[in-house]
Amino acid sequence: MLKPKQMSKVLLTGHKDVLEPTIETLHDLYTLHIEEYVGDDYFHIGTPLSGADEGSKKLLKLRSIASFLGIKKPYHKPISARQLSSELEGKLETLGDVISGKLGRKSQIEADLKDVQTEIHEIEAFSGIPVNLDLCRGYNTLHVFAGTVMKGADVRAGLTGITDEYQFITGNTGVFILTVPVKYREQVAELLAEYGFGEVKIPAISGTPDDLINELTSRQDSLAKDLESLSSEIDSVKAEYEDFILASEELLSIETQKKETPLVIATSEHTFVIDGWIPDDEFETMRSRVEEATDNRVYATIVEEPVDEANVPIEYDNPKIVKPMEAVMNLYARPKYHEIDPTTFVFIAFPLFYGMILGDIGYGLILLGISLYGRSKLHGDGWNSLFTVLIYCNIVTLIFGILYAEFLGFPLAGLHGHPGLIPGWETITLFAGLGGEHITYPIHRTHLVTTLLVLTLLIGVIHINIGLIAGFRNVLVKHGMKAAVLEKIAWIILQVGIFLLLFGVMGVVPSMLPGAAIFVLAVIMLVAGEGGTAIIEIPSVLSNILSYSRLLAVGLSSIGIATAVNIMSGMMFESGGLFIVVAVIIFILGHGLNTALSIIAPGLHALRLQYVEFFTKFYEGGGRIYNPFGYKRIYTEE
């Protein structure tokens, strides 16, 4: 539980004839982490099994079809792999034919549509001009200008100074066609240039612009209709084949993965050697299964030579209830092989801290509802872990909520004559706390600040020292007793020294001498263990412990926001009339905001206490990910 799974380095060797059944068996077992072979003198990297090419071609085809149809990955009921593989060939063929025809038609229609749109765009400039566009070109004695001039420029008036042999027609868009004899061409061009002439190309088409536009628009409509009907045909193909595509993509991926396995293992002319890691308790199963599948023609053995810790792939070994916390660990780093795996510590401390900070029945219920709903709706490992962690956190929040008797910032029990939400429930004073405060049930956090502050610091001391003890064990395994005492136990002694000194100052113990002596001893041990830099780190003990005061402070700020919202909406509510609506809006928006903050603030602060204050005492992390050879089936089943 506190250690990663114990791994063995294994070798499997046999004749190449039995490579295929070996791969098949290992793939089914899904337990062997294969070490990629990088090649040396005698062995060489294997070649893919027969049929690998064909498989990857099919896979490529299937994936291009899937991307054409726009198939995303929904959550599905798995279908039988055996049945699928028998009909895969034929169905893929049909699907390919159906799709390739539609694909061609679709791109043809899209191209046509684009052409029509361009033509319409070109001709539209001339709309309203009642001239066949054919008549606007091909003259020897006439020159045709087509285009626009600046607003307000009078072309006709300008032309009177040059000639009156011209024809000038304007359309709806301000584009004009001007025809003049060739001999005036230069003069007219100069005149038009003065008016800011912008030429518009006359489309090489026969017919009057308006007729052409009508014709093209109706063609555009019919093309759009074709495209639409084709799209719906494609959609129906998609609906029909979606399951098949997803499942066969998975099936082919598995096939290809198996067939390409020789690329990562060592082979000689007649033999193969597979090198990898397997959890200790899986080895016997693997050996017997492989031997069974190959008539004892494969030899599997555990390599007993000492291995480098850094090379061992790490698989967590936690009870099912703790598993979701592994996501929180992965966010930081996977443990190393000989290290303590702190997932269980985090499983206890993270929800505890979260609940202590939030501690409100209202927010706890809202967030519990959200996370239960989210877990039922969103699938996938990441979401599942996230929501499960949130559920743990909010169960603890509810427990603390009952302890604090808070509901959306309102106290449930009355105190000092102020009534709570539940009439008749009065706070009971239990015994005296620190600084003249009284510990009560329910606990009113705002009235018990000094006591709770000391309590949080005490939690900090406990948490940090658990970390130091774990660190002691880690260093003990790696560097021996002397280093472990000097590097970890010295910090614990240092804390004892600091507390004795503090008690001396406060007068709880008569002399400061023992505290000072222990402090100096601890400093000497630290310098001996970690070198002079340890002196710089001494204040960090204090700041780390004080950091746990956030368990109270973040909670108080959350109460502050909630109370502010309640007071504001309460004042509005008392004004009556339309203000009641405003009061409700303030209440909902304010508590909505505070609910969102209630995931972020307690979550981040509880997480940070794990990562920064706790992990730095013992945890290195950085282990390799255990990635067994196999495939996690989603859409198919054997």
């Binding site: 930081y332 956030r550 108080l556 981040l604």
Partner: protein, 84 residues
Amino acid sequence: MVIDIATAELDQILANQAGLVAIGAGLAVGLAGLGSGLAEKDIGSAAVGAFTEKEELFGKGLIMTVIPETIVIFGFVIAIMMLL
């Protein structure tokens, strides 16, 4: 008459003291918050830069970014202790 003025002055002095404590508490949170902000802005921008290049660094970047948050927590605790 004299007694009235004396009471009034005492009330005034007490009110002034309460006001000064409130200002002190405000300064404790506000200045500590500024300190946290100043520290976090540099770390935060560096963290965003790091995890756009390598997404696995998100967790570590987040942690690094919230480290200076402690400063404002201390300020907040001091403020609450002053007000009580």
